[in-house]
Symmetry: C2
Subunit: 351 residues, 2 copies
Amino acid sequence: MIKNLHRGAASIAFREPLYIESCASIVSQKEGEGPLGKLFDIVCEDPMFGCDTWEAAESTLQKETATLALNRSRLTPDDVQLMFAGDLLAQTAATCFGSAGIGIPFYGLYGACSTMGESLSLGALSLTAGFGSRVLCVTSSHFASAEKEFRFPLGYGNQRPLSATWTVTGSGACILSTTPPAKSSPLRSSVGFAAITGLTAGRVMDYGLKDSMNMGGCMAPAACDTIARNFSDFSRTPSDYDAVFTGDLGTVGQKILLDLLSEQNIDLASIHQDCGLLIYDNETQDTHSGGSGCGCSATVLAAYILPKVVSGEWKRILFVPTGALLSKVSFNEGDSIPGIAHAVVIEHMEV
Amino acid sequence: MIKNLHRGAASIAFREPLYIESCASIVSQKEGEGPLGKLFDIVCEDPMFGCDTWEAAESTLQKETATLALNRSRLTPDDVQLMFAGDLLAQTAATCFGSAGIGIPFYGLYGACSTMGESLSLGALSLTAGFGSRVLCVTSSHFASAEKEFRFPLGYGNQRPLSATWTVTGSGACILSTTPPAKSSPLRSSVGFAAITGLTAGRVMDYGLKDSMNMGGCMAPAACDTIARNFSDFSRTPSDYDAVFTGDLGTVGQKILLDLLSEQNIDLASIHQDCGLLIYDNETQDTHSGGSGCGCSATVLAAYILPKVVSGEWKRILFVPTGALLSKVSFNEGDSIPGIAHAVVIEHMEV
């Protein structure tokens, strides 16, 4: 049953789990050379993905990833009733010209780099409400389209401070289902599968920071708020999770998150991981604070996290993509950079 | 009960209606001088809404509208568990610095001018899934921030073709609840109230049109697709609705919509209305094809449509906000302008 959580809670424990039936990840060369390189489904050496513009490249990347997630479970678009997708570009152009073109009824999202958490959350809520039996959740980011959207032309060769993150060129997709994956499914092992069992919706947190080259610092308060509320709403402690994955706090944001949580007597150090710190090797790849972008947490989820939940190595994890809410206009007009983080509880379910 | 609609359907008929407990609309001077001028809650003569930038003006407009919707039902942010909001700006900046700042857990949306349909749909689905008892749905648009975002600097004095629409400066908000509005509620009459009883999710439709000065033409195929699927999924005909409201097709888009529907043997002429054609008087206001923007359908819903459903003048209407999916980058790179439309069934419920 749906747990009646306390007044003020913004969490839900689902009556029936939402199974993750399929997933897919496609990245580019730099991600392929990183520590998780061998785990991605496809590493495309061409950063243009065969297209003429960076935006079309990202659209193609995203659409191919969504299609791969369908293909891996031998599904067609007609088998999926709803899609939740988004990206970082203005008017979510990568999505509108990307996965939205597949033709599945579609709700567009903007949650900055938290979008994979948002899409999984809304997909799980829609299935729980009785809307169909399958939803597709997709996000993407592209280093070059994001630099053009938020920062400087690539040819300018701008220097980056050590607190800056590197936008992942990648897309991740998941298909959620009301029924467990079939025996042939890539997300079913001999012992079980992965399912979403609950979520905590994020609130916008604004500590007044204005440095777009330190987005980890801008997002850490939101991650802290969401994680602490998840623990409170579900009456859990860090020992109830095998790991808590934030999206892209990086080295700077991770330190702030752990400090903020320790002020609330939550010691997350032993189980905290950050997708942005997993995807690149800063020693050899010069990515400074780590990876970022919608595609960062989405590809790490599909390639690294879900297989370990499916195999049972992890019994329960918290997936908390983190987003920095800025535009180049808001930044140039001197606004702060609020953060948001959406948490999804993913558990190993035994066959 | 939730109707099991046919395979391929992207509609849901809700087991329990989602009541519209409160709503609010705030517009600027031009909208206040239009045919619906007296119906809006607040007409603010200052297009800057007391701020220094167009973006901050829109954020303030949106936040004040959300707050007014809470105040009209004597609610505080703590009484609402979730918010769905969006706008037209890059990275939905008006929302991130607007209603998101109220502190309610928040999922950000981008559906161009269809966003009010998307926010009501996802709000209704979340409540049906058991997430809390109240959600807030908000959207906004602002003529000046939209011109800056999509077209030309205002000072350039660009000439507009007759197919162009005029972005509404306005914001609309609704609070959905799992229980009927209290006797003191502004959305309860002596005979009843308004509730959402079903929805049809939109698909992206791309007929290859590229003229951003004829967005009605770009969106009409999506409106046709969604309306026709709504009729098919629910086994309804035009006679089952007192009115079908599209968002902002304008005079050009309306004609195309009626032509496209007639090809499917659906005659919508007698009950079709378009929020963009209701909000301005083109004879005196020189708005060409009509009004547009997220704020167009949202303010017309709150100020004009809902009161007539609450009073029982209309028993069942279909609210179909329409969105044109373009960015200035996609437009300048020569991409087409796909459209999307999300439909919400709103019915009069007797006390």
